[in-house]
Symmetry: C2
Subunit: 337 residues, 2 copies
């Protein structure tokens, strides 16, 4: 079985964007829902994520709202809450229509300067009522201005307490960038991954939350490439070895879009800490002229690496996903048959 | 011959910091200079950078003021200009005392929101009067708040015109971070490298400045690890292949502190675009318990890689430095004998 832990609904039907437009124009009353038929949902997926699953042999995708559209910086906390609820409800519909293909992961109703405790109700609703197995946590709800305290700050603790209680991990994932310095998928996403890991190195968060789990997307940003730098910085700061300081709690996905990068990731980070992902349909959509294959066909890179054992690949492809997203384990087990 | 293109005077004598303290306290009159003897300069280097040069077999270091202390965000443009002048003059003294060991690279008197044209006079003074061969350009003089236009914006053009006229490259290097989200050497430095390259991908700067040269430090941030992502993003944006779009103008140093990272860099980036560097005494000062060697002994990693030809290693160790820092070429040639 192959589980892709990182998929967003980047192809959501027009009705969702029309609803958002109306919301921001101030025309929405609180009881309206986006006008989207089941058929529109099917159409949006059959030629895209589902086609790619079939072509590449991916069985199940952990599926969340489009990251770039979380837009926590737009409007106030009430706007974010209403938008988040619609995005999550749509993911729930997707996963109800295709329970063998998608497992739901939710967006959180974050808002700049608003305590993350405000996200608890929506997280509980998604997990307890709708069967979601994880959430996406934005370390920078300002959208590129980085005004929130580091992830190790007590500011975030009430949300972590709830995540631990519900036993759901968070993928640390920013949204779009309002800062002209940062291209969103080329700089902001990758920088956020790097920044989050460095915050976790500086702090001692997992002493307070030994069972809290974070997935760092996009292959961990710059971190595996600079693993020596991070091991060295941690040592200079008198922190424990990273394997003890971080690797019981953080995991890296495999969204690295060329073979040398995947090779490095698999060489440097223990197999127990790597979860397969491709993030399709995502940031890079073309075919690599050097290989004739899609840049984001990350399974192909992993399959071609001989130095990783079959047992370790099994962990990367599914075992670790069951371990980290424990609420998905039963469903995945069932699908595996 | 082995040239380290990336060294900062991190061990500068106490007199420099005393001068800075007095400057910021408003006690400095404009004619005072830091009180530093030649012997203090020698003492600050003999047990540190010079010792490491001897131990590791590095011949020459391109030497600039401590990056974290450029502090362009502190005070106004006049404060930055006075501080920059003292820092550069001290580098000039170092290089005059040790002309066989250090070649000078200057700090620029940047200040947030102040046009970069204001840096031209100091750049000219350093290059024409004092023999400097390059400069460090800070893409974020705010110190972690990223309020300046991207490096491709016309905002920067007057400085680029002067760099081209003088034929000096810039290392794109931020200073310290005032933003609690960003650890300075663990997040801000690496993010800035990644951000700068993505800005250059989005723009067409080198169409306007075909001979402008940038060195991206710290192994290019996350870029080589995600080279497939960047090739793919460029392709989706209808930009030329990165080898044509960027690699006639940008270069990566080798400040990557473990062998797998250096292996990836040397595999992914053409040897013509890599300049040897270690950044000592720098961000990571300890010994790697996995190897028993200093993390920042990057020469050891390169020497141990068999897949790169002797001719390519010669380029990485010295040839490219002579090419990119053309004003250093004659001096390096002379030292080589």
């Amino acid at each position: 079985m192959i589980v892709d832990c990182h998929g967003h609904y980047t192809t959501a039907p027009e009705g969702l964007w029309a609803w958002r437009k109306a919301q921001l124009a101030g025309l929405k009353n609180s009881s309206s829902k986006p006008e989207i038929s089941d058929q529109e949902i099917r159409d949006s997926l059959e030629g895209a994520q589902l086609k790619i699953q079939r072509e590449r042999g991916t069985d199940v995708t952990f599926f969340s709202p489009r990251a770039g559209s979380m837009e926590h910086h737009v409007g106030d906390a009430a706007v974010s809450a209403a938008w988040t609820r619609e995005c999550n409800d749509l993911i729930h519909r997707v996963c109800s229509l295709y329970p063998a293909n998608f497992v739901p992961v939710c967006q959180l109703p974050q808002s700049p300067g608003t305590p993350p405790a405000g996200c608890i109700a929506e997280l509980e609703r998604c997990v307890k009522e709708l069967g979601f197995v994880g959430c996406n946590l934005n370390p920078d709800p300002s959208g590129g201005w980085w005004k929130e305290p580091p992830l190790t700050d007590k500011w975030w603790y009430p949300l972590y307490e709830k995540m631990v209680e519900l036993d759901v991990p968070a993928m640390v994932h920013v949204s779009s960038s309002c800062n002209p310095a940062f291209h969103f998928t080329g700089a902001h996403y990758i920088n956020a991954d790097t920044t989050a890991v460095m915050q976790l190195i500086q702090g001692d968060l997992f002493k307070d939350f030994p069972t809290l789990k974070f997935v760092i997307p996009h292959g961990g940003g710059a971190v595996p490439y600079h693993w020596g730098r991070y091991r060295g910085l941690a040592q200079d700061m008198k922190k424990p070895l990273l394997k003890d300081h971080l690797l019981k709690n953080i995991y890296f996905d495999t969204c690295v879009y060329h073979k040398p990068g995947i090779e490095l990731l698999l060489k440097v980070i223990p197999a127990d800490n790597i979860l397969f992902a491709a993030e399709v349909v995502g940031a890079v959509r073309g075919i690599d002229p050097e290989t004739g294959q899609y840049f984001d066909d990350t399974k192909r890179y992993i399959d071609a690496i001989d130095s990783v054992s079959a047992a370790d690949k099994k962990k990367i492809y599914a075992g670790n996903a069951k371990k980290v997203y424990s609420r998905a384990a039963a469903a995945l087990q069932r699908l595996e048959g």
